[in-house]
Every structure is written in C-alpha cells, then in structure tokens.
C-alpha cells in the first residue's frame, strides 16, 4: 500500500540567470513501512522535496498525497493539523524548543491539539530512544545526540503516517550518527514506520530500504537496496 504519492512536483527559486529548479516534475511513491533515503549533491533539491512533503513549503505545481489525502488541497487549519498528526519532521539542528523540557518537547504536537498526552506512549518512546533519565532536562542540558533523539521522539509521538528526516546526523559525530541511524532503522522495523531520510552519508543511505537520487530537482536514480 502506497502511503506517500508525489506527483509532478515543481518548485523554483530565483529568476532569470539565477533560477534554481529545486523540484522539476518529481514523481514517486513510498509504500507503507519503507525506509527510503533521498541523496544528492548540495542544492540538488533534497531538502525542498522534504519540506514540500512535510507541508511547510508549498510547491508551484503538483500534488503530495499522504495516505490518500492531497496535502495542498487542505485549508491552512487542516494543513496545521496535518503537520501535527500525519507527518513528523526531524531537522539537522534538532530544533527543539529551548523553553520546554524533553517530555514537553516530545508531546508538543499533542499539546497543540489541546489533548492530554499519552503518558504510556511517551514512556515507551523515552525508553526506546534512551531518554528516560533525561525527560525533565532542557535541551541546553543535553548532548547533540540526545537532542536529536528527543527530536526523533517528538516526530514519532503522534504516530505519523510518514517520518521525514533532513540530514538527521549532519550535526553529529560518527558515534552519535551511528546511534541515530540504528535507532531509525530499529524504529522502522519495530513500529513499521514509513520514513524518508535526506542525507549526504552513503553509509546511512545504505542502511535504508531504498535510495532515491536527486540532481537539479529531478530524480536521476531510484534503487531498492538489498
């Protein structure tokens, strides 16, 4: 079953000579539970693609269907709800809110929905991501790896249809990078979580089920790894 369908996405920046095609009629699908990597050189349009799927950057044309829902046919309010519940975003620089402790950061999307956070789910994620003893710590009291694990937990907390990670290990040392990619792999396998990971790192790409290669806003390679 295809959880993500991307159809003819187009997105450009700049004008005239400085025109950059970040997405040039990109189309692909991702089945449920697949862990896919998007690779490519800097400026090839990987992050833009991720942001468009994540509902934070509008395409000029094309469609993004997540679990059958056309993301950009949603109203502003529905799009915000989509970001809260259907998709989980992980950034290179973690982007945790410094004013909230780890637990509050993880439950933030639920908090926005005025719902009581699922304590059991929180405990499970903290346990899974090795943050049980850091739950009440502020982001500034954590290492880079720990902050990124908290960001992953936040992305997973709403059990999103798809988890999107933009260079999740780009700001980490090799040991922490290894921990994070193992964690993502484990999560994908244990929870059946669909993931799309933008990365430069070939080792990380090799751990994914599929590698989509992007260049100048177009898909130039799409292979399933062994």
């Amino acid at each position: 079953m295809e959880i993500l369908e991307v159809k003819n996405l187009t997105k450009t920046y700049g004008k005239g000579e400085s025109l950059i095609k970040a997405a040039d009629s990109i189309s692909f699908t991702v089945p449920k539970g697949q862990m896919a990597a998007v690779v490519g050189a800097s400026g090839s349009g990987k992050s833009t693609l991720l942001h468009i799927i994540g509902g934070v950057e509008k395409p000029e044309s094309g469609n993004v269907l997540v679990n059958g829902t056309d993301v950009y046919s949603l109203s502003e309010k529905e799009l915000a709800a989509y970001r809260r519940t259907k998709v989980g975003l992980i950034y290179q620089f973690y982007n945790l809110l410094p004013i909230l402790n780890v637990s509050d950061n993880i439950t933030l999307p639920t908090f926005m929905d005025e719902k009581k956070p699922d304590e059991k789910r929180l405990a499970e994620l903290l346990e899974l991501l090795g943050l049980s003893d850091r739950a009440s710590h502020l982001p500034s009291q954590l290492s880079g790896g720990q902050q990124q694990r908290a960001a992953i937990a936040r992305a997973l907390f709403s059990s999103p249809d798809i988890l999107l990670a933009d260079e999740p290990t780009g700001n980490l040392d090799s040991k922490s990078s290894e921990e994070i990619i193992t964690l993502l792999r484990t999560t994908s396998e244990q929870l059946g979580q669909t993931m799309l990971i933008v990365t430069h790192d070939e080792k990380i790409a090799a751990r994914c089920d599929r590698i989509i290669t992007v260049s100048d806003g177009r898909i130039v390679g799409d292979e399933v790894t062994s």
Binding site: R84, L89, Y91, P109, F111
Partner: protein, 759 residues
C-alpha cells in the same frame, strides 16, 4: 487555548530579558498615558473648584417684587434644588443634578412663582417688571448640570482624547517594537512550532496570551507610577504657587487645589493601553505567520543569498576598512531589521525633539501671552504720571525710594499707557502687518529721549534701511484715540492720521427748562495728519523699552513740547524698581503710601503679586513640560536600548563566529561603534527632517493664533529649537553604543562553541 496560554507563560519565564524589556516598554507607555489622563482630571476638578469658589450657584435671577411665597414656589419646583436671596431683588439658585434643560427648568420655576411669559418669551413678575436671569455656564459645565454642559463636556473630552491618542500613537510604537523584537528573537522557535503543527491561531494565541500576562503586570504598575508621577508634579506645581496665579488671588486656594484621580479616566487609560498592547501583539503575530517556515528555520538563512554578480577582484583592505565594510554590511544586509532599528531610533529622536519643542513653545507662548495681555513685568513697581503737565521725575523721589531700603534697581523708563497692540480692524490694516519685522512706534519728547538714551539710538535708523528691512505697524493710541500709520516708505519719518479733540473757540449756548441760556465751548473732533522724524530704533535687548514683545520699537522724537503735549499726552515717564529680595510686600505698600503722600500727582502701581504669579505660572508650565520631556525621554531611551540590545543579542552566533575567526573584544566594540554611529546618523537625518516638518507645521498653525493682534509665532524663535533636534544625534549614538556594549560583554563571557551551537 490552554496550550497557547501555557506556552506563553513558559516563554515569559524563560526569556526573562525580553519579558523585562517588554514590561518596561508597556509600563513606560502606560505611565505617560496615566499621567496625561490624571493631569486632565486634576485640571478639571481644580477648574470646577475655582468656579465654585467664585460663584457657587447655577443661575442668577433679577426679579422685582418677589414675595416669600414666590420664593418658596421656585424652591419647590421640580428641577430646582435651592434658591437664595443675595441682595435687593437679586436671587441665586442651584438646579438638581439630573436637570435636562436649565432654561426650561428656570422658566417653569418662575411660572410656578406666578411670573408670566409674553409671546416673545420675555418673563414678567407679578408687579409687571421684567424678570431676567442668566446661567453660570462655567459651573454648570464643570458640575455637568444640564444637557448642554454634558454635550460640551463630551465634545471637549473627545477633543482631548484625540490629542491623547496622538501621543499614545507614539507610545504604541514603543510597545510594538518590544513585541516585534521579542518575536524576531524567537522567529525560529515559532517556525518550529508551525512545522510541528501549530496553526496561525496557535501563534496568535501565544503572543496574545503573552500580551495579556504582560498587561496584567505592566498596566497596573504603569498606572500606579503614572498616578504617583502626577501627584509629585501636582505637589510641586501647588507649592510653586500655580493655583494662586491661576485663580488670580480671587479665592482661597486651599479650597481649589485638589489632586484628582478619576476612576472613569483611569478605566479609559487602562482600556486604551490594553487595546494598543493587543493590537501590537496581534500585528506581531500576523507578521510571524506571514514568514516562511523553511526560510526561518534554516540556520544560515541570511547567508544563502547569492550575489547577483560575481565580485570583482579587490585589493586587500586595511583593518579599519574591513570594520567599516563589515559594519555597513551588517546594518544593511537584513533590511527588515535595519528598517525596524532605524524607525525605532528615529521615532525616539522625533519624540524627544517634538516634546522639547512643544515645551519650549509652550514656555515661550506663556511668556508672550503674559507680556501681550498682562502688565509690564519688567519691574515690580512703577511710579509715573500721565504727561499732561511736567513729565520730569523729581530727583528727590528717586532718593526717597532708595533711602527707604526696601527697593532696588531704581531706574527711569519710558512707558506707554494703554495696550497699543490691538488686532487689525480692517483689511487695510492687515495689509500693514505682512512684513518680516514687528515694531511699534513710541512717541516721546525729544529731551526725555536724549536724557535717557543719549543722542545715539541703540539701533540707528540707517542700519534698518541698509538691511532693507520692512516694518510692521499696528494701530496704536494717541490721546487715547486710534491713529493709523500712513506712510513708512522711506522710514525716516512716520506719518499718522490723528483724531483728537479740543474745545472750540466759538461758544455755544444751551437753554434750560426756564429758558435761561448758558454758554459753553463744545468739544470739536479734529483730524490731522502729523509727521514725526524717526530718531532711532530700540531693539529688545534694551530691557527698559520692552513693555511688549515687539522686535523693534521705533522712536519718533517730537522736539516741539507744545505739540507733543497736545497730541501725544498719554505717554509719560516712569520709575521702575523692584522689591529687594525678602522684603515684605505689605510693608513696601505702607512705605510707598507714605512716600506717595508727597507726590500726589504721580500714580503708584505695584505689580509685585501679579508678577510673582506670572513667574509662578511660567515655572509651572516649565515644570509640567520638563516632566513630560523626562517621561518621553525615558520611553525613547527604553525604545532605543531595547532595539539595539535585542539586535546585538540576536547576532550572538554571528559574533561567536567572528570571535572564532580571531576577532578581539575591542574589534567587536569597534564594529558596533561604527554600526551605532551609522544608526544614529541615518536616524538623526530622518528625525531632523520629520521634526523639522512638525516644527514648520506647528509654527504655521501658531501664525494663525492671534493674541492682542500679534501672532504667537512671532515671539517663538524657530532657531532656538534646532539645538534640541541636533542634540539627539550624539545622544542617540551614546545611548546606542552603551546599549550595544552591554550585551557584547554578556556575549563575551559565554563560550564561543556554546554560542555557535545556540539555538
């Protein structure tokens, strides 16, 4: 709602510096607004008290033949609270507070007393004599009795409120800037919130909740401080004798001075502030929601902008050159931040300049008003006479005054009786006052003129002629009749068309009831064109001639004593002198009375109390003005400091990177010094232009205001105000520099690595 409220509270707790700055900004704005509202309330109450102290009744009735029965009938009328007899056929009454139409109420009450009304609405008493009454509109207005008073009050309050709104408009920028800067610091955090699902409503909710929490603290605090500041100013004004001057010594001031805090005004002030805070918060939230999530989240968002053209090969720069270049790039690369900072600092400068200007103008106008409409305040006491006979001041009089030991600065002066500055009375007259130089013509006996000034006038006529100056001429009096200047073209003489009267040489006769004839010499009005040579020109520096604030006084000397006495007899000589410091005015009056017995042809005029009250009024004007300037300056400084501090702290990461590349602390200080100088210079130019425009507009509007025929603008020197505007540039530079160096020191204490990692 719960989530946004909770997050807002967390932000306020976490971001202590921004919270304190926002609190200070809102508090400062509220202080000013409360101060103004409390001042208005206090002035209203004091005016009411003064009116009540003078005339504690609403209407005065003159009715002949009113009996006790009629009086009771009036008293028992529906809208009448009380009526009292204060003299023969004179009565005063007070209405009930809920009366609608005072005229109708009075008419009805008089009808109840048996009075009749004819077809023209004229009222007659039972005896057939006309009954008249008039309303004490001032007291009715201040006590808010009757619909006319209420309507007038609403109109006045609306006008005051518009003026206050204009002031608040400037205050709002302070609040707006505080929210804008605070939200800019958190722009990435808001973008993250939006990326994890926060809707626009959530963002608006968070910022609005913050504004509500801040208001809960800042508005009561600001109001408390505002009321406190008003009370301090009130006490100072009171002790300065302002109320005595205001009431012109007619009533007991202990009953009129009353500090008033109107709950209604406070509620209006609080609501106004709260609405502004909410508007600022909403506008900020709207700006946050408009920004792109991805662009804001990207750490190096500012650095990814590609140059349009490849840079040409450039020569290596010196260290100073690089600092300047870097500073220039820093102030201009983020155009929004640059615009916010420049607008914010410019507004601070405009606020200061404008209020300094208004204070200066207010002071000068008050002085001008007093000079134009009141007495000659160049000295406490005048002794003089109408120069119908001998105008010479006896030397013995001077000696007697000096010998009393109570007076000082005794000097002979020329003095013009009556108020010569009158509004133009015809179109022809207005054509005479379109020049660039104001003057009056003072006619003096040549001998007197020479005695006092010597033969050389302070500013010779030739000087004026060489400078090609034109002369404004107002109507003035000669022999207490209006005259008109006919010709000043060559400026060497002045021609006047003089109406005067004299007794006819031809006798006439009247006849009484018994047919007896009586001879008399009738008064004959004559008109004669007279010319006088201009002997000299006095400028205002010559204080003894400055009985009104004209720029120049032409001296038209008349050598012919007979003609002088005939036509110009209302002018005379005076002795001006002051009470010595600490002398008692009552004792001085007694001494003057005793001296006066020997000089009965002279009049003794003691202006000591009026002069004191005028000076007290001026002091109060200055006090209120400078208090406002201090408050406005505080707002302006908070605004500028907030802008700069936040701007620098927003660049923590950038400074850390520069430090990691080898920039020293002094290098960083040099960089911000250049930036602050650029901000101050650019803001200063904008502020000067805007302030200049404001000054020009105000000056133009003042030109339209006439007091006794003279525009107030002519006595307010435009040039004196320029230093106020110019002083803001170095002041802004120093304030910005201090505001920049403090956060730099804070940044300097943190580790470079932490700062670079800083979210």
């Amino acid at each position: 709602m719960k989530s946004t409220a909770s997050l807002a509270m967390k932000y306020l707790k976490y971001m202590k510096r921004q919270t304190i700055f926002s609190l200070l900004s809102i508090t400062a704005a509220v202080v000013v607004i409360t101060f103004i509202f409390t001042a208005v309330s206090t002035i209203f109450v004091c005016c009411k008290n003064i009116e009540y102290a003078k005339n504690p009744w609403h209407a005065s009735v003159y009715a002949e033949g009113f009996t006790d029965e009629a009086l009771n009938a009036v008293k028992n009328s529906e809208d009448i609270e009380n009526i009292e007899k204060i003299g023969e056929n004179n009565y005063v009454l007070r209405y009930k507070t809920d009366v609608y139409d005072c005229y109708k109420a009075t008419d009805n009450a008089l009808k109840n007393a048996g009075c009749t009304v004819d077809d023209y609405g004229k009222i007659f008493s039972k005896t057939g004599t006309s009954v008249t009454y008039y309303l004490n509109d001032s007291l009715l207005f201040f006590e808010q009795v009757g619909h006319i008073a209420k309507a007038n009050m609403v109109t006045l309050l609306a006008m005051i409120y518009i003026v206050i709104l204009v002031i608040i408009f400037f205050g709002r920028f302070v609040i707006d800037t505080a929210f804008e800067i605070s939200s800019k610091e958190r722009s990435r955090q808001f973008a993250v919130l939006r990326s994890v699902g926060a809707s626009k409503r959530h963002i608006i909710g968070i910022i609005l909740h913050e504004s509500v929490y801040l208001s809960v603290i800042a508005i009561p605090l600001g109001m408390l401080l505002g009321v406190g500041a008003s009370w301090v100013v009130y006490e100072m004004v009171k002790s300065a004798g302002f109320f005595e001057a205001f009431a012109q010594f007619t009533v007991d001031t202990s009953t009129i001075a009353e500090f008033s805090v109107s709950p209604l005004f406070l509620i209006i002030a609080a609501l106004t502030c709260f609405v502004w805070v909410l508007l600022s918060a909403y506008a900020t939230a709207a700006r946050v929601n408009k920004s792109s999530i991805t662009a804001t989240i990207r750490v190096d968002a500012e650095a990814v902008k590609l140059p349009k053209k490849a840079a040409k090969n450039q020569k290596p720069k010196t260290a100073k050159h690089i600092t300047l270049k870097l500073a220039l790039k820093n102030v201009t690369r983020n155009k929004k931040r640059f615009a916010v900072s420049v607008v914010s600092i410019s507004l601070s400068m405009i606020l200061f300049t404008s209020f300094a200007y208004f204070t200066q103008t207010g002071k000068a106008s008050a002085e001008a008003f007093i000079n134009l409409s009141a007495y000659d305040f160049s000295a406490d006491i005048n002794i003089g006479m109408i120069a119908e006979e001998d105008t010479t001041i006896p030397p013995k009089l001077e000696a007697d005054l000096a010998g009393s030991g109570m007076f000082t600065d005794i000097q002979p002066v020329l003095y013009l009786f009556g108020d010569i500055a009158e509004p133009p009375v015809s179109d022809d007259a207005s054509a005479l006052i379109n020049g660039s130089l104001s003057c009056r013509v003072m006619f003096v006996n040549e001998n007197t003129y020479n005695m006092i000034t010597g033969s050389n006038p302070p500013v010779p006529y030739q000087t004026l002629a060489d400078e090609n100056k034109t002369v404004d001429v107002n109507f003035c009096h000669i022999g207490r009749e209006k005259v008109r200047i006919l010709d000043l073209d060559d400026m060497s003489s002045v021609s006047i068309n003089c109406d005067y009267y004299e007794k006819s040489n031809t006798p006439e006769y009247t006849e009484d009831e018994n047919g007896n004839k009586e001879q008399y010499y009738p008064t004959v009005w004559l008109n004669e064109a007279l010319s006088f040579d201009i002997a000299g020109v006095c400028d205002t520096a010559l204080a003894e001639y400055k009985s009104s604030p004209y720029t120049f006084t032409l001296i038209a000397a008349e050598p012919n004593t007979e003609r002088y006495n005939k036509y110009l007899s209302c002018h005379g000589e005076y002795i001006h002198f002051n009470l010595i410091d600490g002398a008692d005015n009552d004792s001085a009056e007694a001494v003057l009375g005793k001296i006066g017995e020997s000089y009965d042809r002279f009049s003794f005029e003691n202006y000591y109390l009026q002069r004191k009250s005028a000076n007290d009024t001026l002091f109060s004007v200055k006090l209120i003005g400078y208090s406002l300037i201090i408050l406005i300056s505080l707002i302006a400084i908070i605004n500028a400091v907030n802008t700069i501090v936040t701007g620098i702290l927003n660049r923590r990461r950038e400074f850390a990177v520069l430090k990691s590349l080898g920039m020293t602390k002094s290098g960083a200080v040099r960089l911000v010094t250049v930036e602050c100088a650029l901000y101050a210079a650019i803001s200063g130019i904008i502020a000067l232009a805007v302030s200049g425009l404001l000054l020009l507009l105000t000056s133009q509007s003042m030109n339209m205001m006439l007091v006794d025929g003279t525009t107030l603008a002519s006595v307010v020197s435009y040039g004196e105000l320029v230093p106020y505007a110019l002083i803001t540039i170095p002041a802004a530079f120093v304030i910005c520099l201090i505001a920049a160096v403090i956060p730099l020191r804070i940044i300097g204490k943190a580790s470079i690595a932490d700062e670079i990692r800083q979210f």
